[in-house]
Symmetry: C2
Subunit: 188 residues, 2 copies
């Protein structure tokens, strides 16, 4: 892929970085890149939906002169793993005691329900208190459907979520957890 | 979803339009919207990947002041149907005798192979000579791997593709063809 001169692709060196400085999105992108290289899964971050209101033309192609970000109605990442459809959203909160539900749009909550109904794998990846958790879509829905609160307490996430550990490569081996949760019979 | 005043959502009236004036992308978007309303499938067009080089801030949110379109490495549409991962690319050609392969990037050809390897459903939707065809990923690969030509002859598409007929709603009921090809045993 070609990039204009003023935009550089960021190369990550996990050895010097210790990954702690990376944000969750970069960690997941790096992990998905690794999974693709190893031909383990095809999972991509979806581009942020934008509306283009003005363009111009240069010898290198069309240039966006003005645009805006749209509100997403699906989750951030989707793809194919072991013949199954997989989709998830990644969120970081600095809040230490609860995960604010304002982080997830109502359209996205409905989308989680739809993916479950259509037999896809769907979950949230939540980074909180420097720990990364996988929270299954049905556990997430169970909480919000039974509570009036505008946030999910950390206790709930700690008890119901699955911890994703940091490693060398991939940075976040979340498919190991997916195997344990969603492919248990086949793995055993 | 909110749209700024200078961008209007396009409403389509298939009765007066007869669909012929619509472009293939709109026809597929309308069909996917219908499938979601009917809770039949969750298939979306992926946003075009862009690189943002300059932003500004307004009371309504972040505005893109400059950006460019990136080359896609996956296909245009993906989603979930009957528990299976589905992905496809939609292309129109005005060429009456052959489909130019310049329409499909090398990264995308590799991606078609990957989706097949991981047991996903993958195909092309080609509009040519006013007819819409579904060409299976493996038929597409079989052709390009066995021919040196830079285009696929119309004869090949006519013989190996499946015609998708126009209807009232959805405009293009391509999942009917998907049922016939990929879910034959279950449907019978």
């Amino acid at each position: 892929m070609k990039y204009p001169n003023n935009l550089k692709k960021i190369y990550i060196n996990p050895l010097t970085h210790k990954n702690r400085g990376m944000d969750l999105e970069s960690e997941l992108n790096e992990s998905n890149e690794y999974y693709r290289e190893m031909d383990k899964a095809l999972i991509y971050k979806k581009p942020t939906p934008i509306g283009v209101t003005d363009v111009s033309y240069s010898p290198k192609g069309k240039i966006i002169e003005r645009g805006f970000f749209k509100e997403p109605s699906t989750l951030d990442y989707n793809g194919l793993y072991r013949g199954k459809y997989i989709e998830y959203e990644a969120k970081v909160t600095q809040n230490r005691t609860s995960f604010p539900l304002a982080n997830i749009h109502p359209h996205q909550i409905n989308h989680v329900k739809s993916v479950l109904r259509h037999n896809g794998i769907v979950f949230l990846v939540i980074k909180m208190n420097e720990i990364v958790y996988l929270l299954k879509g049905d556990d997430f829905l169970a909480y919000i459907e039974n509570h009036e609160r505008k946030s999910i307490p950390y206790e709930f996430i700690k008890e119901n979520g699955y911890m994703i550990k940091y490693s060398y490569r991939p940075t976040l081996d979340y498919l190991k957890i997916v195997d344990e949760i969603y492919f248990k019979e086949e793995t055993e």
